[in-house]
């Protein structure tokens, strides 16, 4: 499927929507071809994905409240942005995320225990990046954007037609790293998609503090197209991402996508958003719920949404149960593993330190030590 490329979007239009706020299908001659294959069943499948990940997110938040996790950054509100883009990817595309893209991990087959380990604090990271083509999550804001570009440069040197995708937030666009990533990507025609989830907030800071322009407009000055898409419209997100990936695969270089969405929950479970934003704002965005939007579209098209909801609900229930069950498979790590993997090769200094700490533990007994 390679529809004709849209006129290059040097100046991003208002905002790409394929499903309107009341579920109506909006025609878009440039982007419709990119999702021409998405029939009602596939749209339903996207709904199911979103329902499951929303439930996983709710359950993880609950687990944190119950003390089973140290922290959790909820994705609630951003389901369409993450599922729509994630479902556009090929397995061999490599994904570099920040800390909030749990949907990407789930889509790429990460196990519940692998997903939770880092938030429970039992492991530095959950999964093997090469099994899932998914890097370890990144907490240093924006740093991963450069990693994606480097990986993408490597792809071209290897003659691969896979792509890399970097997820980051609206706040991240102010970091030097993200800007340098745009520079490198353009200079080397790197097959990379910059996927910015503009969820309106960087902790307590509104996006207007980072930029007075729509973020997608940054793209042009760096020499790449920028697409501003309704991030709560899963179909539009998918279309935009496919468009960008196709550009990458064909050697046309990078694209910046700004998915306009909203973080419905707190920044993390440690955050209290009532200190910086209003109920009105929250309410306004609640009415743009990405799941409800797909349901309306399906309903309007005559799909059996009740059956879908039931089915998705039980898939979500299973996922939640799996998640909760996974906690028990995450015991506290062995003390001396604290020294594992600092280096790939033997290191005399660290071996001495490990040996000494081992003796210390042996003397004091593991029980007492390190209280």
């Amino acid at each position: 499927m390679t529809p004709p490329e849209p006129a290059v979007l040097t100046k991003p239009r208002q905002m790409l929507q394929l499903i309107g706020e009341r579920g109506e299908r909006l025609a878009d001659p440039e982007f419709d071809p990119w999702v021409a294959d998405v029939d009602l069943d596939q749209l339903a499948a996207l709904y199911r994905d979103m329902a499951v990940i929303r439930r996983i997110d709710t359950e993880a938040t609950a687990l944190q409240r119950q003390g089973e996790l140290g922290l959790w950054p909820p994705l609630a509100g951003q389901e369409a942005a993450q599922i729509g883009s994630g479902r556009a990817l090929r397995d061999d595309d490599f994904v570099f995320t920040s800390y909030r893209e749990h949907a990407l991990a789930w889509l790429r087959g990460v196990e519940p225990a692998e997903l939770l380990a880092v938030w429970r604090g039992t492991q530095a990271s959950g999964w093997n990046p090469f099994e899932h083509h998914l890097a370890v999550p990144q907490i240093i804001i924006g740093a991963q954007s450069l990693h994606a570009v480097g990986y993408a440069m490597g792809l071209t040197w290897d003659g691969s037609d896979a792509a890399a995708i970097a997820y980051f937030g609206d706040g991240a666009t102010s970091e030097g790293d993200v800007n340098e990533a745009l520079v490198f990507a353009a200079s080397f025609d790197a097959p990379v998609v910059f996927f910015c989830q503009n969820n309106q907030w960087a902790i307590s800071e509104p996006v207007g503090l980072q930029s007075k322009q729509p973020l997608a407009r940054r793209a042009d000055g760096f020499g790449m197209p920028g697409v501003r898409v309704d991030g709560n419209d899963v179909l539009a997100v998918m279309a935009a991402t496919r468009f960008a990936l196709d550009r990458a695969r064909r050697g046309d270089g990078p694209t910046l996508i700004e998915a306009v969405t909203y973080r419905m929950g707190p920044h993390t479970t440690a955050d209290d958003p009532s200190r910086y934003r209003t109920d009105d704002e929250l309410g306004a965005w609640r009415s743009r719920d990405p799941l409800a939007r797909v349901l309306s579209a399906l309903e309007a098209a005559g799909h059996d949404v009740e059956a879908l909801q039931t089915e998705a609900g039980s898939a979500a229930d299973r996922a939640a149960a799996d998640l909760r069950a996974a906690i028990t498979t995450l015991p506290d790590p062995e003390p001396l593993t604290v020294f594992d993997h600092v280096y790939a090769e033997p290191n005399s200094h660290l071996e001495r330190q490990r040996d000494r700490y081992g003796r210390y533990l042996a003397m004091y007994g593991e029980e007492e030590a390190g209280r």
Binding site: G70, L71, Y99, V118, W119, R120, G121, T122, Q123, A124, I139, I140, I141, G171, A172, S174, E175, G176, D177, A202, I203, S204, E205, L209, Q210, A270, D271, R275, Y276, D332, P333, P335, L336, T337, V338, F339, V342, S348, H349, L350, E351, R352, Q353, R354, D355, R356, Y357, R359, Y360, A362, M363, Y364, E368, A369, G370, R371
Partner: protein
């Protein structure tokens, strides 16, 4: 006197600095409307306005770089780095500009910038949220580096840091933010102990234990525990990490003849190395045993459930004291060499 938590004591100190000098401006991520993720700047934007307490874009180099420009303009910027692990993007502006501009400009341009950094572990945080980067800055000429350990000091020292015409890295032990103690908020700053002077937090006779920040409390607990065991530990709260108040440290070591330095940061090239080296150079004839370092391991900060196996705690400190005293300790069990250092490469 008011009983305040460490976080509130810093807040009170910042407030006083904002009141007493209208060139003082606070800058950082989430410090305004939110009052900082630790609420250290709570209420200050409401009271002093958005031009005195400035929420900045999300870019640490940007914060420090604009602070330099503000210093050029005669302001005294107080910047917050949200967590220790997020200071590195600003490293160039700190090391090449903030630290050097007074020298580079032959004393014409002052950089009275205070860089507040919540630091250290012990709160079960995610990665990059528990770093102890102080040694990088102590090794950087042109900077002053301090760490507070208690509310009373914090209240005074933050004001002293802001009043200093030199740039100051101000490390705040985040795991002690909620510890409460009396603060002399009515006393005059002029009478306060200078920021550069260390404190003998607990007097003792047998061994000198030097530490700072979040581990001062742990060291004091260790001193109490040791007392029961008949060992008298003198605990020195360093407060200033660069320059170090060697006069106080060395005077103590000359009396006790033994030194233990404790910090959360890794051992290799940590502040303990400097203190051991300097004390050895200056007090060689007085030392009765090899100085001991009790530190975090030389590893990236581990996942939360392992941090207790990384951070020095009361038992590891006491084990270090035992080493300094030549008492039975974790390394003496199977001594391979007379120094008790059994596993040389």
């Amino acid at each position: 006197m008011t009983a305040l938590t460490l976080a509130k004591a810093i807040n009170a100190g910042l407030r006083r600095s904002l009141e007493s000098d209208d060139r003082v401006v606070l800058m950082g991520e989430d410090i305004g409307t939110l009052g900082g993720v630790f609420r250290v700047t709570d209420g200050l934007k409401a009271d002093f306005g958005a031009h005195r307490v400035v929420d900045t874009p999300l870019s640490e180099a940007g914060i420090l770089g604009t602070a330099v420009g503000l210093a050029y303009r005669g302001f005294r910027p107080v910047v917050e780095i949200q967590f220790d692990g997020f200071i590195y993007p600003a490293f160039d502006q700190i090391v090449a500009q903030v630290a050097k501009l007074h020298y580079r400009s032959r004393g014409t341009v002052r950089m009275p910038i205070t860089i507040r950094v919540p630091f250290g572990g012990g709160i079960g945080a995610a990665e990059h949220h528990s770093e102890s980067p102080e040694a990088y800055f102590a090794h950087t000429a042109g900077l002053r580096v301090v760490a507070c350990s208690n509310p009373a000091d914090a209240y005074v020292m933050i004001q002293q840091a802001i009043a200093s015409d030199d740039p100051v890295l101000f490390f705040e032990p985040k795991r002690r933010y909620h510890v409460k103690a009396d603060v002399a908020d009515d006393a005059s700053l002029a009478d306060a102990r200078p920021m550069g002077v260390a404190t003998v937090a607990a007097p003792g006779r047998d061994v000198t234990l030097v530490t700072y920040g979040g581990l001062v409390r742990t060291a004091l607990d260790a001193a109490v525990a040791a007392e029961e065991d008949g060992v008298s530990i003198e605990v020195i709260d360093l407060r200033s990490l660069a320059p170090v108040d060697h006069a106080t440290v060395e005077a103590s070591v000359r009396r006790t003849g033994r030194l233990v330095v404790v910090h959360e940061a890794g051992e290799q090239g940590g502040l303990g190395a400097e203190i051991v080296a300097r004390v050895t150079e200056s007090c060689f004839e007085y030392l009765e045993s090899a100085p001991v370092r009790v530190t975090g391991h030389d590893i990236p900060y581990p996942p939360a459930k392992l941090e207790r196996h990384h951070l020095p705690d009361l038992d590891r400190i006491l084990d270090g004291v035992d080493r300094a005293l030549g008492r039975s300790n974790s390394l003496s069990a199977h001594p391979v060499r007379p120094t008790g250092d059994g596993v040389e490469a």
